[in-house]
Symmetry: none
Subunit: 232 residues, 4 copies
DNA sequence: AATGAATGAGACTTCATTCAT
DNA sequence: CATGAATGAAGTCTCATTCAT
């Protein structure tokens, strides 16, 4: 590194081109792309390695199995997702309402909403056979995220004008709505652009907690979005 | 066998015709069960015919293809779904708010919410390869259902206390929320029982249209549901 | 069958050429040939089906697995072997000594000593991984054969000129000797021709039970065998 | 590392050379263990190097090939075996009968009868594909051992009470019996303990050459062995 | 109508061997 | 000397589809 070893030459074509971790990640990325384009069942080891530009045997060298590869993919997505909402949830100086918006921002962060990544989530949710893998790998992250929302809702205190509500039930309803927005962002991208999903989510919050959201300005709204016919 | 049972009478012909439709339906039902249990990729022609108690050759006789069988499955589900909300939407004597609730009741009707059927919807949504089939077969029904909701919302008139809202946008948001509830009813049945989904949906409507839902009693609520920890 | 349906035409090339049982047997035969020629590890499903003149998928249709196919092979050999010695052991009018010779004749019967079949036995004995299959499938036959010998030895009564001997121990030693002859018949066929193995076995019996074998003529001896140099 | 440790002295060279031989031997030992536990086909280069605590590249450095490694294994076993019977056969002061017993002692020496080593012999005998390697590497040792026995038998002179016998034929029969005992020691260790195999072998000799073995005491007999049911 | 044996393409996985480091 | 990532051929098994019966 200190030597004048400038990598001007073309990267060595084959052997030892990437470090081990890089190779793993490139295979994970390729798998995400393949699932997004060809579906879970259309994702073959051959296709993945072709996309990654490596060889068939290599995937089995780095991930013992196709299943292990899928686990690594989910683990990667779950880690990324967790990092996003934990980062958003770290600023304790915000009001509870602002913190809920932060979580929405994390959920609809550009990195979260990449179509290929959403496709992976729904591929695993939609495939009965893969659901076990999902629960094993992502279950904990899911629950933690829910509890983060529960904690914020509890810190809101109850609205004197409204009947008391169970915080967990409310949080579950929120997450369900976000899931629905994700799904439609994937299926009908022209009707559900990323920022309009964020908008809808925040409006939903405002409807649920009017006392806390009345004065809040929702930023970066793109009200013109989504006027086109539904089907792409 | 020993009798001279020549099929000159009309009965055998009709019996045959009926039997044919029954066969088709039994294969469709078997496919739904298989997708629910084994996923789309785990659903093989052999498995389907075994569940249906039929034979491989027969399935290929009735549905030229595996793809055609899947199309028939989606067509069946779409027809059933359409019948449910069209029936719910037929009573023009109801108020707009009541008609929205009717649509919710159709969406969360026991027949709609059978876990095996939801599993099929999400199997097709989640699999990029099968999404084309879905759009081809179910797209129209989806759009019609959306427009039925749009029409009702437009008949509500605008709430003078609230900013004007695009009816289509609102309807899209509603459908997205229902989708999210469906997904969670499938994935976390103990947290999202059918009736509590209906409840959440109606509360959501009430939050969106407070002027029209203020006096309405939501019926058949099971407020005790869903208090258990999330994962089963 | 009663019709003048004479099969003068060439057998239909492909489909439905053989009955199910015949097809299974032809695959079993092919497996035996393959193991004999290429060894257990050199026996691939492709090779077996090629020898059998059928297709790859078919073997998996008739035998779920490669392992199941191997089990069927051993079962077939064990059944044949059992039939041989049980047939030989059926004549109760023979003297005990003659019955022991009958068992030897069964062990070294032309059908038992086909080189390809011996090769299969030793392939399974020699492969640590396949030994479990062997025990599971053939263990009982092995034990029954041993006990048949034990019963005959016990019926011999003890020789007053020799120390008493445990019948089971003696039978075990006999079987071990027969095994050794089998092995050498396989490895060094020119030194261990089938009939000279039979001869050696009977001489061994005569040495063990001189009182019962003294007057017995060993038939069909080929004393000239086995004079050539050892290696083929 | 910091010292100017130029390898001018002889020591490092020798240490290296020694280390090289040790490496080879540790790989050979690992191969024997692997064949014994996983069979010939279950023995992969990766498994061997893992057992040996070495690396893939190293094994290919020391033994160009997998086949060369197998040859080295057989060579090692053959050398050890040869050393055993040549040692046993060296004492020319013994009577011929005692020398035959010495050879038996070599054949059933603890070092010869290690289960893992027997497993290797039978692995190669049982695998048609590996039989060539066996013949190429071990054939000579086999023949020499046979001839050693032949020479002793010829030195016995003929028994006036018995018909003349061809010494080579007799020796072949002996070796076959020993092979059978080896096989059963491997497959049914509880019925064929090492010392009872030795016992059986010597009894066999005594039955063949009664005039020479009449007065001989067979030592170290364990008459209680082998009373249990056959299968473990 | 109905059956299920047969085919063969294609998926996953293993493994001997090579070679950059 | 030593390592282990990388390759690709070869093996096992699955499964949609066909077609003789």
């Amino acid at each position: 590194m200190t030597e004048d070893n400038t990598p001007t030459s073309e990267a060595p074509k084959k052997r030892r081109a990437l470090a081990k971790a890089e190779r793993r990640q490139s295979l994970i990325d390729a798998t995400i792309l393949s699932i997004a384009e060809f579906g879970l069942s259309g994702t073959t080891m051959a296709r993945v390695t072709e996309i990654a530009g490596s060889s068939l045997g290599l995937a089995n060298f780095h991930f013992e199995n196709k299943e292990r590869l899928f686990e690594a993919v989910l683990q990667f997505l779950a880690d990324e997702e967790r990092a996003l909402w934990q980062g958003a949830n770290a600023d304790v100086t915000l009001t509870p309402a602002e913190r809920l918006i932060s979580l929405v921002d994390a959920r609809f962060h550009p990195r979260s909403c990449e179509r290929s990544k959403l496709a992976v989530w729904f591929a695993f949710w939609g495939d009965a056979g893969a659901r076990d893998i999902y629960r094993r790998v992502v279950g904990d992250m899911d629950e933690e995220r829910l509890e983060a929302t529960v904690a914020i809702i509890e810190s809101l205190g109850r609205d004197p004008d409204r009947p008391p509500r169970d915080a967990r039930q409310t949080a579950l309803g929120l997450e369900a709505f976000y899931d629905g927005l994700w799904l439609n962002h994937l299926l009908y991208p022209s009707d559900f652009k990323r920022l309009s999903c964020r908008e809808r989510a925040i409006e939903h919050l405002a409807a649920l907690f009017p006392a806390h959201f009345s004065r809040l300005q929702t930023v970066a709204a793109h009200p013109a979005e989504g006027k086109r016919p539904r089907r792409t």
